[in-house]
């Protein structure tokens, strides 16, 4: 019987890694993709770090929606542009040592020739220092210039188009392929 939920590739970072990780040459033999990550960024003064997603290496105009809670405060933001590539959160640079944030990133119908989108559930966990931590959900639409299948996905900590982010040692990232038949 065919395996329908298959690990394609995984990373366990042995050291802090600038630019995060990239899943390249993603096979075109599945229907949906799921990424599970237990991660931590290095963004200073933040206990939670945004995750920046780059699809097929594109620096075009993404659009995103983010809903998140930070202790007792809820927030929403997002928009469109080359910098709107954030989807999900992990632990940040000033989180308690050894604290990681966890989440799932879902890329449905990734072989489609039309617009790609993704959805994430994620959060950086509470710990004993009482500092601010976040959980959130969000969605991301890829640039319309991407007209083929998703062949690569890059995940990194907070950064910008010209200032890439880091994922720290101990972060683990798994890419799964799901078949529909």
């Amino acid at each position: 019987m065919a395996n329908t939920y298959t690990l394609i590739q995984s990373y366990t970072l042995a050291s802090d890694t600038a630019n995060g990780v990239t899943f390249s040459n993603i096979p075109n033999t599945y229907t949906h993709l799921i990424i599970n990550m237990s991660g931590r960024g290095t963004r200073s003064t933040y206990n939670s770090d945004d995750v920046r997603i780059t699809i097929n290496g594109s620096t075009g105009s993404y659009s995103n929606i983010r809903l998140y809670g930070t202790n007792n405060t809820s927030s929403a933001d997002g928009g469109a542009g080359s910098g709107q590539t954030y989807l999900g959160v992990v632990a940040g640079g000033t989180a308690t040592a050894n604290v990681f944030g966890n989440g799932e990133w879902f890329f449905p119908n990734y072989l489609s020739s039309t617009l790609k989108n993704a959805y994430a559930n994620s959060g950086s966990v509470e710990s004993s220092n009482g500092a601010l931590y976040q959980m959130g959900i969000g969605s991301l639409s890829a640039p319309t210039s991407i007209t083929g299948a998703i062949t690569s996905i890059k995940l990194e900590g907070y950064g910008s188009v010209s200032n890439n982010g880091t994922l720290t040692a101990g972060s683990t990232i798994y890419l799964y392929g799901l078949k529909s038949t």
């Binding site: 019987m1 329908t4 929606i65 933001d77 989108n117 559930n121 969000g138 969605s139 639409s141």
Partner: protein, 173 residues
């Protein structure tokens, strides 16, 4: 002997033409949980247009839910405490025709006849994102699900051709 498969596609449905609603029936009862993964194409401009589902064709006021969601600057929560004739699943249409919405719907223990069924959903587009924790009040096993872009399951055809829904069955052992 190969290990038993614990995560299997039961049915995949690609919407053949723009539609308002459709049903996936005769779902296998051989699993413990259902996970529906969908990618829905907006067939018309309609930012904030919600999508809805029903279980076993039940049109009575048997659905309740709590939802949270929002857009680029707004956020809200709502609780549907009185019975509704549909379960809203928080996948919201994109801003323009042709935009796509990603969604996941969990129905754990869908074959149980000991109680009502929880329905957990996640979804988002370029217009909105959110989650819903809902409940269907029926106690029979879930054997069919229906989807619509209108709470009354009538109206305009907003689910676009090419939208894809895959229902996976998951075994606990």
């Amino acid at each position: 002997m190969p290990a038993a498969q614990t995560f299997e596609p039961i049915v995949t449905y690609t919407v053949p033409s723009d539609t308002n609603s459709f049903s996936l029936n005769s779902l296998s009862q051989s699993y413990d949980h259902l996970l529906i993964m969908c990618n829905i194409k907006s067939a018309s401009s309609g930012a904030g247009l919600d999508y809805y589902m029903r279980v076993n064709g039940d049109t009575s006021g048997n659905y309740v839910a709590t939802r949270m969601g929002g857009g680029t600057s707004s956020k809200s929560t709502a609780r549907q405490t009185s019975g509704s004739s549909y379960q809203l699943f928080y996948c919201v249409a994109g801003s323009n025709a042709g935009d796509w919405t990603a969604g996941q719907i969990w129905i754990p223990y869908y074959t149980s006849t000991n109680g009502t069924k929880s329905i957990l959903t996640n979804g988002g587009s370029n217009a909105d994102a959110g989650k819903t924790s809902g409940n269907w009040g029926g106690t029979s096993a879930v054997n069919a699900v229906s989807f619509s872009s209108d709470a009354a399951f009538v109206g305009s055809a907003y689910i676009g051709a090419g939208s894809i829904f895959t229902i996976y069955g998951i075994k606990g052992a």
